[in-house]
């Protein structure tokens, strides 16, 4: 099948091994640490800031969800991690430490050795993410053999095994089928198989279910969490679907217009949503009052972001301080739960943004559990409604 010259991959793999050792010595550092990540694109209309200095971490085996409206920079952020963003016109700054190594400082070959075995991606549109000219088997085998010097037969066996593992029936027969012969859900399974081919430590799943039928979505999510457990991967999950978040996330990072608005454990965010944006998002969930109208207004122009808080123009609580200077620094409410809003600073009254102080926030753990299931159910439904909107977030990509 593939007649690739494998020698460079062998070397790349050696590098990776060395790094893994180094990481082992590194100690308690998280699997992935993103610090001050800023991704900009040079366009005819000026510099477009897609991601504007965000931080987050993903630990081993943990699931972190990046949440936000379409176009808020989630996808660019994840693609900046392994530098999938084309540069030029894209430009990535900041630090992305993966097992202690700064991915942004690596040379091209080293970063390639991370892609796949280190960090793997699953993209949102399996239709286009698979090359229509090659069989699915070929594409999985390629993912294996790019990094490992294995025989074709062995690679094929492993690919069939992976297909089987991701739930493709009759995998050895379907190995030689072309992507167009698979259904959408099956294609996404194949994509996942491709991602698993390198046995990654971190799986970046970028809205993997948005393009899929509702019933299929649930199964894919199920598969992902099974695999996460089985392979012990960290997962960075991008979605605009809070229902999904509630179902799978350990921790949540809420993004808006390239900035982090709020972060925290899934409980923190769902039970005590602190940023007006988070609250607005949650209120869009069915049964929360705002599902029809959505959030008023639209995302700011990424080439000329507003002063102060990015969300201020759309925020019903915005005051003068919100429209000055930079995005407010994050205020840590509880351990791991941070919010970027002026009302949590300088003695202002956060209850203004939290509504009447009770809201959804004050329930106990069991209550939260209920809510979480609730959200998940509703989420499934709401995802259905959001399907047509897919793809908007990708708009800033091609540059």
């Amino acid at each position: 099948m593939s007649g690739t010259d494998r020698d460079p991959e062998v070397e790349a793999e050696a590098d990776l091994d060395a790094e893994t050792e180094a990481t082992a010595e590194g100690g308690d550092e998280p699997l992935l640490a993103v610090e001050g990540l800023r991704t900009t694109f040079e366009t005819d209309a000026g510099t477009l800031v897609a991601v504007d200095g965000i931080d987050f971490t993903v630990s081993e085996g943990e699931t972190v969800c990046l949440v936000g409206e379409s176009g808020s920079g989630k996808t660019v952020a994840t693609e900046s991690i392994t530098r999938l963003v084309d540069s030029p016109p894209g430009h990535i700054e900041g630090r992305v430490r993966f097992r202690g190594h700064d991915l942004l400082a690596m040379d091209a070959e080293a970063i390639r050795s991370v892609r796949g075995p280190g960090i793997a991606h699953v993209f949102q549109n399996p239709q286009d993410a698979l090359n229509h000219c090659y069989t699915v088997g070929w594409q999985i085998v390629e993912a294996i053999r790019v990094h490992e010097d294995v025989s074709e037969a062995a690679a094929r066996a492993r690919a069939v095994e992976l297909l089987d593992r991701v739930g493709i029936a009759n995998p050895s027969a379907r190995f030689d089928d072309y992507p167009h012969e698979f259904s959408g859900g099956q294609k996404q399974r194949v994509m996942i198989a491709v991602a698993l081919a390198g046995d990654p430590d971190l799986l970046v799943a970028d809205e993997p279910t948005t393009a899929l039928d509702v019933t299929v979505q649930a199964r894919i999510l199920e598969l992902l969490s099974e695999l996460q457990a089985e392979f012990g991967m960290g997962v960075l999950f991008v979605t605009h679907d809070l229902g999904v978040v509630a179902e799978i996330a350990d921790r949540v990072v809420v993004m808006y217009a390239g900035k982090v608005m709020e972060r925290g454990s899934v409980l923190d965010v769902f039970e005590r949503p602190s940023h007006p944006y988070t609250r607005a998002l949650l209120s869009c969930l069915p049964g929360r009052g705002n599902e029809v109208t959505g959030i008023e207004g639209s995302l700011p122009d990424p080439t000329a972001p507003p002063e102060g808080c990015r969300f201020a123009p759309r925020c019903e609580h915005a005051i003068g301080a919100c429209r000055r200077g930079e995005q407010p620094p994050e205020t840590e409410l509880t351990e791991g739960h941070g919010v970027s809003c002026v009302f949590y600073r300088d003695g202002r009254d956060p209850s203004v943004v939290r509504g009447n102080g009770n809201g959804n926030g004050s329930g106990d753990g069991s209550d939260a559990e209920t809510k979480r299931r609730d959200a998940s159910r509703n989420g499934s439904r709401s995802a259905d409604a959001s399907t047509p909107g897919t793809g908007g977030a990708e708009g800033s990509d091609g540059g």
């Binding site: 690739t4 460079p8 790349a12 693609e79 392994t82 999938l84 091209a108 070959e109 390639r112 050795s113 991370v114 892609r115 796949g116 075995p117 793997a120 991606h121 993209f123 549109n125 286009d128 993410a129 698979l130 090359n131 229509h132 000219c133 090659y134 594409q139 390629e142 993912a143 790019v146 990094h147 072309y178 167009h180 994509m191 491709v194 991602a195 081919a197 390198g198 091609g398």
Partner: protein, 324 residues
């Protein structure tokens, strides 16, 4: 429908097209005054004979006294039994004339086609990979230059420069040299170069525009995310899908140049190939040879289109034969 039936349908259709072309050609030739007859008359008159009689004899000899439908039937029978008759221009069977001409045409056409097919898509994809860089602009410039400069004009200028002034290449095409020899390479270098520059442009542009699309496709991101090197990504993930739309362009482009420019290039460089044979046959109104060359070109075109169709369906796994 399945591939065999699909191919069979295409072949049948190709035969229909060729029949139409052959019929029209026959009609045109039948309408033309036959110069051999006229010449016989002149000859007879100048030498004191009876021109009328000479015309009669000549017409009879050529079977021109038969009614049109009989001649047409005879002609069709000849065509499809591959009995293409005798060329008066070359005084040998048409098939022999064609095969010899083909021998010379192939000597430059094969390297030209191979080079075009190799270099065109490569530069196109390279150009797309470096889109809007100076390399892309240079490649675009070269493509447009080659496409825009008339082949015959370029040919005579180069022949003058390298043949007459610098004396690097022979001015006279020599049919005696071995096919695989340095001399042959020397005398064919400029014609091949001229043809390649002419044909590469369009192919380059198509592959550039097409691969530009695939370059930004999601599956390229997938490939990148898999850790595939850019070279491999372009070689496999961009080239291959680019081949699909390209395959529909290449044959047409090559055929157009094959039919048009090769004639000019053969005239300029004195290569006794098919193009010149056709031209000479037309000028000399050698009916059999004109029909023979027309048939051959039609055959080449028809087979080319057939190959194009089949390659297209083979290259793009998404196409099923029922769609066409």
């Amino acid at each position: 429908m399945g591939l065999p039936r699909y191919v069979a349908a295409r072949v049948v259709w190709a035969a229909v097209v060729s029949l139409v072309i052959v019929t029209i050609t026959f009609g045109l030739m039948a309408a033309a005054p036959n110069p051999a007859v006229q010449e016989a008359a002149t000859q007879a008159a100048l030498e004191g004979g009876d021109p009328e009689e000479a015309v009669e004899r000549e017409r009879e000899l050529r079977g021109l006294d038969e009614p049109l439908h009989v001649r047409y039937a005879d002609f069709l029978r000849g065509v499809y039994t591959l009995n293409w008759g005798w060329s008066d221009l070359q005084n040998r069977p048409v098939s022999e004339a064609l095969s010899e001409a083909l021998f010379y045409t192939a000597q430059y056409s094969v390297p030209w086609t191979v080079l075009t097919l190799l270099i065109g898509p490569l530069i196109g994809v390279y150009s797309a990979a470096n889109m809007y860089s100076w390399r892309d602009h240079l490649a675009t410039g070269v493509a447009f230059f080659g496409y825009a400069i008339p082949n015959f004009f370029f040919g005579i200028i180069l022949l003058l420069l390298f043949g007459v002034y610098l004396e690097w290449i022979p001015v006279v095409y020599n049919t005696d040299v071995a096919v695989f020899s340095l001399e042959n390479a020397r005398q064919l270098a400029i014609p091949v170069f001229v043809l390649v520059t002419g044909s590469i442009g369009a192919i380059m542009r198509v592959s550039r525009n097409e691969s530009a699309e695939f370059r930004n496709a999601d599956f390229m991101k997938t490939a990148k995310a898999k850790g595939v090197s850019p070279l491999r990504a372009y070689a496999y993930h961009v080239m291959r899908p680019t081949m699909v739309p390209l395959s529909t362009t290449v044959v047409g482009q090559l055929l157009a140049i094959f039919l048009g420019s090769s004639l000019l290039v053969e005239v300029v460089f004195g290569i006794p190939g098919l193009g010149r044979l056709t031209f000479d046959a037309l000028i000399a109104q050698d009916t059999n040879l004109v029909l023979g060359t027309t048939l051959l070109f039609t055959f080449v075109a028809v087979v080319g289109n057939l190959i194009e169709d089949i390659v297209f369906t083979v290259l793009d796994p998404r196409i099923s034969y029922d769609d066409r």
